[in-house]
Symmetry: C2
């Protein structure tokens, strides 16, 4: 066996999941923020985390509990590897921010590790391994962060097993404003609080929104996307966990945002705008609303990134 490569580094972007209309189903990545994972082949056996750096230091070093490495353990088993992995994680995504940090780490790790296999798997096969990590983190089976972090673009995760990931076109002029107020919301806890039953009429309204939104994306019809940009099921249950969200949303829509919603399980929130100028305006106004509630914010403006995870050169 010839070791062509002993170390690989991959970056995976932050992702915005749910996207108002598609709880547990829709997500997209943004540019400019994400996690980076460096994997090295080791004598093994198994997977060892050697370092976690970046903005979160509070993450477990136990490989069978860390979202970045759970998939790698399974990968090594599945390929009957006679080597192990040592892993170094550089977190760029704030912890419990609703920006898909666990997915980003899981995806970056599997993309890097895959590059070190004697026979790397096609990217489609990596979804499953990244999902193993996500399950540890979020306590629910949803692929709406993993799929866009891995493949890029607005992605409908119709089914996880077998994976059925559908790329949805997005009008290219859309700019996404992402605001991260300085709060922590645990995905696991937030999911646990959701009502297990919903009314049939809310289901119909929300399905209508999903259908209209997807059609609007394919038709390149911003008005239809705007009319469909609704979450009547999850948002009413979560908005009170994020002081300032209701006000920020109202302000964003008042300034002409196409839509505004909670990113994943929050506390990050996002809005879509039709121009970069309007996006700037909306960002400032939303930050102001959180400031009134005493919350500092980080923020980004990005197109709906078509780039998913990639190896660092």
């Amino acid at each position: 066996m010839i070791l062509d490569q002993v170390t690989a580094t991959a970056f995976a972007p932050a992702t915005i999941a749910n996207v108002a209309v598609g709880f547990d189903l829709l997500g997209f990545p943004i540019e400019g923020v994400g996690d980076e994972v460096t994997v090295s082949r080791s004598a093994g056996p198994g997977v060892e985390i050697t370092k976690i750096e970046g903005i979160n230091q509070n993450i477990t070093l136990e490989a069978d509990k860390n979202t970045a490495t759970v998939g790698l353990i399974q990968l090594l088993k599945d390929v009957n590897a006679d080597f192990g992995f040592s892993v170094s994680i550089k977190k760029g995504i704030p912890m419990s921010s609703g920006m898909g940090g666990s997915a980003s780490s899981a995806v970056a790790a599997i993309v890097a590790a895959n590059a070190l296999l004697d026979h790397p798997l096609p990217k489609e096969k990596l979804f499953h391994y990244a999902m193993l990590g996500e399950m540890v983190a979020s306590g629910g089976l949803h692929g709406d962060n993993i799929a866009p972090a891995l493949f890029g673009g607005l992605t409908l995760c119709r089914s996880i097993s077998p994976p059925d990931l559908i790329s949805i076109p997005v009008p290219s002029r859309i700019q996404c404003i992402l605001i991260h107020p300085d709060l922590e919301v645990s995905t696991k806890e937030s999911r646990g609080k959701l009502k297990k039953e919903i009314s049939l009429s809310d289901h119909v309204r929300q399905s209508a929104a999903m259908g209209g939104f997807i059609a609007g994306c394919f038709k390149d019809d911003l008005d239809l996307i705007q009319r469909s940009f609704k979450d009547v099921i999850i948002e009413p249950q979560r908005s009170s966990q994020i002081p300032g969200f209701i006000e920020a949303k109202k302000t964003a829509l008042g300034l002409g945002a196409i839509g505004c919603a909670i990113s994943g399980s929050g506390p990050s929130v996002f809005a879509w705008a039709d121009t970069a100028e309007r996006a700037e305006m909306i960002r400032e106004a939303m930050i102001q609303e959180f400031k009134i509630k005493g919350l500092k914010c980080e923020s980004w403006i990005s197109p709906i990134s078509t780039q998913g995870a990639r190896l660092s050169s």
Copy 2:
């Protein structure tokens, strides 16, 4: 005032609503079966039903209770008409068949009546009036029969008020098999029996189906349409009302149908096939399954008709 025209006749097609993935939201018309309504201007005031002929004779002649005429009463009020309408209905759609008979009558009547106005309204404005009739019939606010009967094509009825009707492209090679077993199911009763609450996880599964189905239609991707062609919420509650449906569906899918589901609230059922030959095969096999249960069937094979209601020349 000059009476340019004193009588008009319009035809509106039968429609298949819900379409598995979109309860109360999606519908399309088929060719070869529908209702025809002839409207004449009368001295008035108000609306009078003079005749109901065709395959259903059991329909009320009271204009304020008949689905065909409720909208006409409101139309006359709204345009401050100094005349009335006399209406003759020719039913081509079997009663309580799940083939959108009430919508067809309501739509044909309003299209004919509109042609007799001094200033006919644009077709978009007729949706509201046809809906008034549908509400009398079905006991629920859903436009998934009215919209396709009026405009043609696969239509997503995202909102009723204000109307937001979205035309969804359908792969042109699709052939629809419609089977009407000799049973009657009241839409009102059938709706009344539906569970008012559903689980969040079923909602997510069904939304995924809606999203995948709409994307599949835009992508012209029959495989994706097939994978998405699911109803995990309504069908399990209604299938027992239609002896033979479960068997007919299994048979249709076994023969390569893209999908098979209940049409509206049943008892009619439909399937999609990718060729006319396969559609014939599926039709025969489905009829056979109902025959085993002692049920005779009427049946049709049609493309997803792009034609909605039209005036008869």
